[in-house]
Every structure is written in C-alpha cells, then in structure tokens.
Amino acid sequence: MNSAPVLEVQGLKTVFGTRDFAVHAVNDVSFSLREGELLGVVGESGSGKSVTMMSLLRLLPSPPARIESGRVMFEGQDLVRLDDASLREVRGRGIGFVFQDPMTSLNPVFTVGFQLMEPLRTHLGFDRKAARRRAAELLALVGIPSPEARLDDYPHQFSGGMRQRVMIAIALACNPKVLIADEPTTALDVTIQAQILELVKDLRHKLGMAVVWITHDLGVVAGIADRVMVMYGGQVVESAGVDALYENPTHPYTRALMATLPSLDGTRRDRLMTIAGQPPLLTAPPAACPFAPRCAHVHDRCRMANPPLIEVAPGHAAACWLAAPGEGVQNGV
C-alpha cells in the first residue's frame, strides 16, 4: 500500500462565478492517490467532492468555473497547465470517469457498442473489428450476459444497473491507471448497488487500478475503501485509513455525521442525533473553520482562523484546532 502516488493534487482551488459573485467550491484541497488504492471521498451535497474531481480533468465549463491555483500531477504532467490535446489523451485513456446518473450519461441515439468502441478507436487506434471484439470483452467483464448481441442495443434497452455497468465498461475501455467514480451507485437500488460494489471490488484487483470513489454513504465507503477523505465546505476536513476513521473519527463533523446515522444492526435510539443548521454557502473564501457555526465544540479560535490538516496519528489527519496535541477532541470532548 506504500507504493508511489499515481495522482497527486496540491492546493487545488476552484471558484465559480463572475467578478461580482463567486462560489468558492474547492478550497485548497490536497491529496494523493497511490497505485492500486481505493480512496473514498465522503461529503454532503455542496461539500465540493464532485467539483474537486471534475476540476482534476478540467471537465467543468469555464467560465463560470475557474481553477485559481493548485497542481494536479499525473504521470509527470500537471493537468492544470496541460494543453487541450494532451489533456484529451489523459481523459479516458489515463483516467476513466464514471458519472452519477446512468440515465443521462449515455447518449440515447447511439448504440451501446458504438459508445464503447469510441474511446478504443480514438485513443488506442483500434480498427472497427478489433474495437468490436474488445467492446464485447468489456461488456462480459462487467457482467452483462450475451455481450456480443447487446452491443447493438440502445441505452434505453438496458436497466439502470446495466447502464451503470456499461458506463464502467466505457471508463475501463483503455485500461486507465485511475478510475474516478462519482456517486456511481446513488441512483441505484440497494440490491443493484450491491452488485456494482462487488463488481468494482473484483475489477480493481483484477486490473490493478487506483480508484477514487465519491459517495455520501458512509456505509458504502466502509465496505470498499482503503483510505477515506471527508469533505465539508469545499475542504478536506479529515483523512485517514478506513479502519482508523471509523474507530477514531476525529473531526467533529465526521463524528456528528456518524452519529446521525440510524443503524441497521446496533441498538436503536429513541431520537436520532442531529447536526443543527445548514451547510455553508461558500460565497467568500473561508477565513474560519467552515463547520464552526454547526459545531458543538466551537471556540473563539475556530471563528478566527481556518485550521489546517493536523496529523493525529500516522496517516490520519483532521482539520480541527482541537486535534492539535494537548487538545481534547481525541479524548471524546
């Protein structure tokens, strides 16, 4: 697990807007993804998890989106400064992307086979026949029965779970080193989600790729991730190995988030724990801790300065002043 990073993000800042109005969606996000690792990215809507990943590949329309600063190192290149032609090579070939909604991310007027063969022909220079053979292999790989015949079907002839399998097949077409999956199971039912999770667990070992898995579901992450990054207000608030995060959540937001979940197997509480208030609007660059207005342990320092990620144990960091040595959060304050 301690192999070299395949993807390294440093100080990424993405802003949406014009001169008069801005939303600071990604604020100084840094992380690295090691070879073969599965990184879970957890957060609520508006926490910046999707925008961060879209920014990496510059998939956001500009304007209004603007990457203000930061570096995204992939195979020795900085994707933020890469020219369009080289970036096109990285998209699809080096880094595959699976989007949330399988209903809208496939083109309804082309066959699934055509959409699968497109990256093979563009990036790998396959001829029609070879591309078709490989496309059928890919459909078989993601568990679609009679793949050869189904290449000529249109997206509407597939169910939601099957379409998400097709999306994964397309993302895997060129053997990417990194797969970024943006809430790929959120639109699916739990029994279908379980199928997709099994598939990804199986494929990533088979193909040895690194995966970034974006989700709002702490349960999904617990089952598949090696490491987890919790985001709030456009920032990484906690980052840890999966066992450490669930055993010893350190940031008050992570702790609150885990406490609000009703459990399927544990004791049942009379009332659920809640987090008062609303997530921040991010219309200004953060000058204070973004969670301060909702935090049960807030003190003056939180409202004056935005805490950096502070290491609480090897490989486990939290952006909270209370996580600093000598402070109380680790002792359950």
Binding site: A222, T274, A276
Partner: protein
C-alpha cells in the same frame, strides 16, 4: 385477508386485497395491449398512533400503494377502510369530506411546493379549502403551524426558493398538518435530503406523532431509517407484500429470501463488520410488472427457488411469531 395489528389501539386504516393496474395503450387507435400490475393484491392494517414502514426497491409499487390508500389514484380492486369507511368506493363529495383526515407528505420538496405561492399561502390553502378559519384566525393558525415544524413564523411571506431542502420539507409537513389529520402517508420524505438534514426531519416527524397522536404510513427505500421510525415493517416486491412483521422480528431474523437479500445489501458503516459480512448478491434485475413471473414473483432472482415456486404462488401465511410471509419455505 385482514389481520390483527399487534398494538392494542384500534385499527385506523385497513387495506384488503388492494390492486392498482395501469393499462398500456399502443398503436394508432390506442388499443389496450397490456396491464402494468403496479399493486397486485396488498393487504395490511395500520393501528392508530402506529407507524407502518413500507419498504422496497424502485418500481415495486410502494408509492402507488401509498397514493391509492389516499385515493390519489383509484384502486382497480380491493377495500380501503379509513376509520371504518370504505373510501375505495366513495363518491367524490363524500371523499372530499374525508380528505382532511388523511394527508400526504411528498418526496421532492422542490416539486411539491408551488414556486409562485408564498409559504404562508401554501400552508393556508388547505385551511381555506376545507376549514372554517378566516382572516386573522387563519393567519394565527398558519403561524402556529410554521412554529410547530420549527420554522420562523415571520417567514410566511417568503417564497419556497428562499428555503433549503430540509426547510422546504418542513413547509410540506406544515401543510399536511394544517387540517389536523389522523393519518399521514409519508412518501420518501427524506430521500431528497442530505444525511445531516434527514435526521432533523425524522425527529420532527416523531415529535409531531407523539404530540398529535398521528398515524403514519412511512414509505422509504432506506432500510436503516425505517428501522428507526417504524413499529412494523412491510416489504414489497413487484406489486406484492412478501413479508410483514414487527420491526425487531424483521430486522433481527428476516424470513423471506427477498427481505434477507435486501437487508444484506445495505452497507453498514463499520469496516470491521463489512469485511466479514456475507452479502447475498441477487442475480439480474426486477422483472417487469407488466409481465410478472408465474407463481412466486421473486423466483427468478431467488437463491432458494425450486420448481414448485414457478407452479404455485406462495400463500400469505402467518408464522408462529405473528409475522406474515409469502414464501413456501419460510418457517
């Protein structure tokens, strides 16, 4: 096929063999070519003050059941008794008089509030439609309702777009409460909300239930949340209820193979548990309700199906512990 609720309270809602079929029309003269059996013979009771959870995957007919129980869609067959009155066959004027007693909270707080009406007029609308309050008395009632759901009454003049998702859902709850209903169908009330906001809304629903003695039919696909809020739980698959049991019995020891698979598919937020847990992975997708499998509807995906399951539809049986289950092999 009605059965007794375990709670001592009187039965408020009794649904017997409810069917909702939708015709499929095709061709130039729109001839009927088939039928979607969205709800195909569903029976359950809800006791006063109780929460019955109704769970299942998309397309299983849980929302249609909820709508049919309030006669927002007409039932094709079956009885729906609301405090002893069969509303399935009620005429429109008599039905209208029943409406204040039964209300609904909708899934999508963005689509279920009229964007051109102020919050005050949204909450006041049922009052002017059915109630007798006028003028400042009505105004006071609106303020009281907004206060009851945790919104600042001075927000009455604002429009829905000025509120967040969780706040909008509170507005929908205030509207449902306006006429002092006995029975509320909550159709996925938290599905569109973020995790940290879901808990706020669920706690509000529970507080209101205790304070006002409300009875809920809580429709959801979130099995963890249903375990939290429901007293009894019904599991639907392809238009039928496959298992109905007390919360503890259902989650502790599910008997129907579909309930077992559904529960095992829910990820548990604990990596240690997840690492050792055995997931039952169902093959394939849910079949079309326009052409359901013969016999047991779950047999095409069931890990323990035998020849008998295709030939013979399993009876809706009561087991020794009081739960009901529709499977040949459940004991």
């Amino acid at each position: 096929m009605a059965f007794d609720s375990p709670k001592a309270g009187e039965t408020l809602v009794r649904v017997a063999d409810l069917k909702v079929h939708f015709p499929i029309h095709a061709g130039l003269i729109r001839r009927q070519v088939g039928t979607v059996r969205a709800v195909d013979g569903v029976s359950f009771d809800v006791a006063r003050g109780e929460t019955l959870g109704l769970v299942g995957e998309s397309g299983c007919g849980k929302s249609t059941t909820g709508r049919a129980v309030l006669r927002l869609v007409d039932a094709t067959a079956g009885r729906i008794e609301m405090a002893g009155t069969d509303i399935a066959s009620l005429g429109s004027e008599a039905l209208r008089r029943m409406r204040p007693r039964m209300q609904m909270i909708f899934q999508d707080p963005h689509a279920s509030l009229n964007p051109r009406m102020t919050v005050g007029s949204i909450v006041a609308e049922p009052l002017s439609e059915h109630g007798t309050l006028r003028g400042s008395a009505r105004q006071r009632r609106v303020e009281e309702l907004l206060d009851a759901v945790g919104l600042n009454p001075s927000f009455a003049n604002r429009y829905p777009h000025e509120f967040s998702g969780g706040q909008r859902q509170r507005i929908g709850i205030a509207r449902a409460l306006a006429l002092d209903p006995d029975f509320i169908v909550c159709d996925e009330p938290i599905a569109a909300l973020d995790v940290s906001i879901q808990a706020q809304v669920v706690n509000l629903l529970e507080e209101l239930q205790e304070r006002l003695g409300l009875t809920y039919l809580f429709i959801s696909h979130d099995l963890s949340m249903v375990r939290h809020i429901a007293d009894r739980v019904a599991v639907m698959y392809l238009g039928k209820i496959v298992e109905l049991a007390d919360r503890e019995a259902l989650y502790g020891a599910p008997k129907h193979p579909y309930t077992q698979a559904l529960l095992s598919a829910v990820p548990i937020p604990n990596p240690k548990v997840e690492a050792t847990r055995r997931h039952i992975i169902l093959k394939g997708d849910v079949p079309s309700p326009a052409n359901p499998p013969s016999g047991c509807r779950f047999r095409t995906r069931c890990p323990i199906a035998e020849a008998r399951c295709a030939a013979e539809e399993p009876a809706w049986r009561k087991l020794d512990d009081g739960r009901h289950v529709a499977c040949h092999f459940a004991t």
